[in-house]
């Protein structure tokens, strides 16, 4: 009764990562969005677009930016999303989340909020994020959110500043009471590309990181450690029964920028439509780029790799950013 072994193309994305603004109060060294447009959709237009997404069948929206809480009408927008039946979540730097804001986020219908924290060491995090005191505010935000009854996660972009601090990050996450710790593989987009030499790991270092991270994941039961990246298929760790192989971008999810531009994911800067003017299902069904991403072809070392069927060449965004070819092997691949 499950048909999960057969490749299925959905009629619409399940979830959308939606940047509601591009303004930000931080200056993170790896930020993918600094070169994006700062144009924002006005409230009514944004709500029209969210209604359009809900009608198309989208089930959940994860708000981001910039820093989404710099948008003053975010709570109103979120409340209306709940009326549309959309499950809403958010990624934030935490700076603006005090007890009052956490309660307001709960009231507005947020089911989950992810807070970006890149180190257990305050000074290292503050320097990386370009904002003194940001680690303390982020940690407090987690506490306020938990007190307000919102599920929390910590988003950590793994790079050279923190790749050797897995145990410390896990311990830190457990102390904060976060429900989930997401270790995000470094994306070479925006400032991440500009600072790649300083921040990125070598393929061998990525292998060692994931081996240690999986050991940590297996050793804790009170914290969900998420390592979801297509490249983990190299370790045989991907859920082989899920209907989606490789990257989920363009297969389960889309990204929408603050000006309404639609891209396959936040780290692929190729615009495939605009939510203001275009029919979402049509974009989803007819985009040549999405079709290519759903039907990747192995090239280079992928052609002879036994893991390709699960991995599908790893992260398309990284391959595209560093080689210009979406079918190129993931530059982080250690195979």
């Amino acid at each position: 009764m499950g048909t999960e072994e057969r490749e299925v193309v959905l009629q619409a994305p399940l979830t959308i990562n939606w940047a509601v603004n591009n303004s930000c109060n931080f200056a993170c060294r790896h930020c993918y969005s600094r070169e994006d447009s700062h144009d924002e959709l006005g409230q009514e237009l944004l709500l029209d677009c969210l209604r359009k997404a809900a009608r198309a069948g989208v089930l959940s929206v994860n708000f981001g930016g910039g820093e989404p809480l710099l948008r003053r009408d975010l709570l109103q927008i979120a409340s209306r999303c709940r009326e549309l039946g959309l499950r809403i979540s958010m990624n934030s730097n935490g700076w603006l989340i005090d007890a009052e804001m956490a309660a307001a986020l709960k009231e507005a219908g947020f089911s989950k909020v992810g807070i970006s924290i890149d180190s257990h060491l305050p000074e290292l995090h503050d320097h990386f994020r370009g904002m003194p005191g940001s680690h303390a505010r982020a940690t407090e935000a987690l506490m306020h959110l938990k007190h307000a009854g919102i599920s929390t996660s910590i988003s950590t972009v793994i790079c050279r500043i923190n790749c050797d601090s897995i145990d410390e990050l896990v311990a830190f996450a457990r102390e904060t009471g976060a429900g989930q710790l997401n270790f995000h593989n470094f994306k070479c987009s925006g400032l991440g590309l500009a600072h790649k030499d300083e921040l990125d790991l070598s393929p061998q270092e990525w292998k060692e990181f994931y081996q240690r991270a999986y050991a940590a994941k297996r050793s804790v039961s009170d914290l969900d450690i998420s390592l979801d990246d297509p490249i983990i298929a190299l370790l045989g760790e991907r859920d082989t029964e899920s209907m989606v192989k490789g990257s989920v971008c363009g297969k389960l999810s889309l990204n929408i920028k603050s000006n309404g531009d639609i891209t396959p994911c936040g780290f692929i800067p190729v615009v495939i439509g605009n939510i203001v003017t275009d029919d979402l299902r049509r974009v989803w069904r007819e985009s040549p780029l999405l079709d290519q991403m759903r039907h990747k072809q192995p090239t280079g070392k992928c052609s002879s790799c036994s893991k390709y069927a699960e991995c599908l060449g790893g992260c398309t965004a990284r391959a595209l950013a560093l080689t210009g070819e979406l079918n190129a092997p993931d530059p982080h691949c250690w195979g």
Binding site: M1, Q11, S60, M243
Partner: protein
């Protein structure tokens, strides 16, 4: 008596375009109807596609026992009862293992 409790965190929807195609295939007596994914379930990073029978079971199973689910499905599909019972148990056990539902009293 054990009853089914769907995980409230699961996101799911019917794929209405495929559902229409599957219903037409069933009316034609086409075996391919069972190969079409008429709904999609998403939870904890796992995405499952269910065929028309799996979708019907998922839609009705909340709070029902296996016997009740089988009885209801028999009113909607012409299938052998014993075979259906075995399929329903296997299907629900698989979803339970993946965290999409649980069993309660």
């Amino acid at each position: 008596m054990r009853t089914v409790k769907r995980n409230p965190d699961v996101l799911w929807r019917e794929e209405d375009e495929v559902l229409a195609e599957a219903r037409q295939a069933l009316e034609r007596g086409d075996d391919d109807a069972g190969e079409l994914g008429t709904s999609v379930l998403f939870s904890g990073g796992t995405v499952l596609s269910l065929n028309i029978l799996g979708t019907e079971i998922w839609q009705i199973c909340q709070g029902l026992s296996i016997d009740e689910i089988v009885a209801e499905i028999l009113t909607r599909f012409e299938v052998d009862e014993d075979e259906l019972r075995g399929d329903v148990v296997a299907f629900l056990d698989d979803l339970e293992q993946k965290g999409f539902l649980s069993y309660g009293d």
